[in-house]
């Protein structure tokens, strides 16, 4: 397996001088194509900050991130947005759906942005919504869906563009255990059936048990790595 993402010596500092906070202190990270990696750690360990560096939502103070063959540290804001659109998928802990758009329209957004026609985007969006078990909910507004359903639509939006890497930032944090498990099962299925590379931040070990690997962070450093399955 080849590494689809390779981060080297990642540092992230906030503030300056006496107020400086050193959140990531030189992390090396890599994930292979098709791998499902969980990043775990206590609150303040730096797991979300690491994910933001890996997913190019943030720029590391030091270090490099290589996604595929692309070194993204020199990207402009516009390039980053375009790269995220075409290469990465995101699942946020608060679902992050646009409240004014229907479920289908939320999923269509990145497809339309990629230049799909309305009809193509709608057809693809409906297929993906069906695949996450939300058949017939195309026209529902987010407010008309439960938390678990919203998160599944969020997953559908993230995978609709067939991203190389899917990032999930505590996707179960706002869900009850049943809904949380459904979302985890969905992600596991994506990984096992379609070989989707997934990097997930979670603080609940039970949800990380379906992953290939768990990386444990503590105080901005990788302290332990668990390989659960090949």
């Amino acid at each position: 397996m080849s590494a689809i993402i390779q981060a080297t010596n990642i540092h992230r500092r906030f503030g300056e001088g006496a107020l400086e906070t050193h959140v990531l202190k030189g992390i090396d990270f890599s994930a292979d194509e098709g791998e499902f990696v969980a990043i775990m750690g206590k609150s303040g360990a730096g797991k979300s900050t690491l994910m933001y560096q890996l997913s190019i939502l943030d720029e590391p103070s030091e270090g490099t991130v290589l996604i595929g063959d692309t070194e993204i540290s020199s990207f402009s804001e516009q390039d980053r947005t375009s790269f995220r659109l075409n290469t990465l998928g995101y699942i946020f802990q608060n679902y992050a759906l646009v409240p004014d758009l229907s479920a289908a329209e939320n999923v269509m957004l990145p497809l339309l942005m990629r230049g799909n026609s309305w009809a193509e985007a709608l057809e693809n969006a409906q297929k993906v919504i069906d695949s996450v078990g939300m058949e017939g909910k195309y026209n529902n507004l987010p407010a008309e869906l439960s938390g678990g359903e919203q998160q599944r639509i969020s997953v559908a939006r993230a995978i609709a563009g067939k991203p190389k890497i899917l990032f999930a930032d505590e996707p179960t944090a706002n869900l009850d255990s049943v809904s949380g498990q459904q979302v985890i099962d969905l992600m596991t299925k994506l990984n096992s059936d379609y070989g989707q590379t997934i990097i997930m931040v979670t603080h609940e070990r039970e949800y990380a048990m379906g992953c290939n690997r768990i990386i444990h962070l503590e105080d901005g450093l990788v302290v332990h790595e668990e390989r659960l399955r090949e």
């Binding site: 995220r84 992050a96 004014d100 957004l109 990145p110 339309l112 942005m113 309305w118």
Partner: protein, 415 residues
């Protein structure tokens, strides 16, 4: 193209799902701004336009013939008068003789020869009562007494500005006689010639040329003023509804009328101060309207800013998932555009569908004019374009300010 499409989708859905009362409030603000922009200057200009229409209707008509430069009167007036009957585009006309005289009242009751005489220097106009009435509807402005009878002699109409009882409301600016009403006897002196007239009626109009005038029959005027050549000072003409004064002027010139008289359309002959005041009021209205635009643009800015800042996290997420920032900005510009369009549309509907007609039927009564609402469509369109452009900028700026913020900071709600 897809950026525009996504922007329109996001913007349109936001409008659709927005709180209806908030939307109504914003549209009301835009409509009132539009009305402020159109109606304030429209009423200010309408004051003058009302006066202008009155001067045209009651005094000068559509086409004015007056003495040529270097001449005292219109030459060959009788020939011109005969010719006018042959022009079907003329609805009515009046031949006027003008001069100045001294009007004296209460002289019969005057016992003390040392006391000041009750006199006023007046403008005297000799008219054919029937022609003048068909031209200016002068008889409808009689507030006391009756209009001149073409078959009678020895009667005079007096404009109410010459009567102290009426004129004192304007201060001491007019030369007046006192206590005169219809049926009284007055004396008109021109040079060394005096003649007694019975006051047939008092004329009240908002047009100075009418209210600051006295009217006597043309025959008596000529005798009193020694104008035996019958050459008049002014011929005013009203056109038929479909007639064009410019075309008639050209025909008059082709037919040699300009050898005898200066020919002017109303626009050429109207007093310059009317145009000057109109332009001044228009500028004033635009200035007041501009303040309205500034207020509206600030309102739109605040509304869009609050809207955008309350959706800051959502904007961050949209950027996070790869939506181009321009699409997000378009969404907010679209909202501002829709508010401006609907507000202006309603304002235009109200203006052209109701207000203009209402003020025509119920003009605002001012001392010098019956004010109407004037809103030429081309000027309205220009003002709308200005309002629309300013609104778009007011919609874009706050969106731009929020969208340009760091994506992750927006997502996490960090400053």
């Amino acid at each position: 193209m897809h950026i525009l499409r996504i922007g329109l989708l996001l913007g349109w859905r936001q409008i659709q799902r927005a709180n209806k009362w908030t939307t109504l409030l914003i549209i009301s603000v835009m409509m009132l701004t539009f009305l402020n922009l159109i109606a304030v200057s429209g009423i200010l200009v309408g004051l003058i336009t009302g006066a202008e229409i009155a001067v045209r209707e009651e005094a000068l008509g559509d086409l004015i013939l007056s003495e040529k430069s270097g001449e005292d009167h219109i030459l060959e007036t009788e020939t011109i008068r005969r010719e006018l009957a042959a022009y079907p585009e003329i609805q009515a006309y009046s031949v006027r003789f003008n001069g100045g005289g001294v009007l004296e009242a209460n002289y019969k009751e005057r016992r003390n020869l040392a006391a000041e005489r009750d006199t006023a220097s007046v403008q005297v106009t000799g008219i054919d009562p029937a022609l003048e009435d068909s031209m200016s509807n002068l008889s409808t402005y009689i507030i006391d007494g009756e209009y001149l009878d073409p078959n009678e002699e020895g009667y005079i109409l007096i404009g109410y500005y010459y009567l102290e009882e009426f004129a004192q409301q304007f201060g001491d600016i007019f030369d007046t006689v006192s206590g005169v009403s219809a049926g009284d006897t007055v004396r008109l002196t021109v040079g060394n010639v005096s003649k007694e007239f019975k006051v047939k009626g008092i004329v009240q109009s908002k047009v100075d040329q009418v209210s600051l005038n006295t009217y006597i029959p043309e025959r008596e005027f000529r005798r009193l003023f020694g104008r035996l050549d019958r050459n008049a000072d002014q011929i005013v003409i009203h056109m038929n509804e479909n007639g064009s004064e410019t075309e008639l002027k050209n025909i008059f010139i082709e037919n040699g009328f300009d050898d005898f008289a200066k020919i002017q359309t109303y626009d050429e002959g109207k007093p310059k101060f009317i145009t000057d005041i109109k332009n001044t009021f228009n500028t004033l209205g635009t200035f007041i309207g501009s303040i309205g635009i500034v207020v509206a643009s600030i309102t739109i800015f605040i509304i869009i800013f609050i809207n955008a800042i309350s959706r800051r996290q959502q904007i961050g997420i949209l950027k996070g998932i790869g939506i181009d920032r321009r699409a997000i900005e378009i969404a907010y510009v679209l909202q501002a555009a829709v508010y401006a369009l609907i507000g202006s549309g309603l304002g235009a509907l109200l203006t052209y569908g109701f207000l203009i007609g209402y003020f025509e039927a119920n003009p605002i009564k001012f001392p010098f004019s019956d004010g109407i609402l004037v809103a030429p469509p081309e000027e309205t369109f220009i003002r709308f374009v200005v309002l629309f452009a300013v609104t778009l900028i007011a919609g874009f700026l706050p969106a731009w300010l929020i969208v340009k913020q760091n994506t992750l900071n927006s997502i996490l709600g960090r400053k």
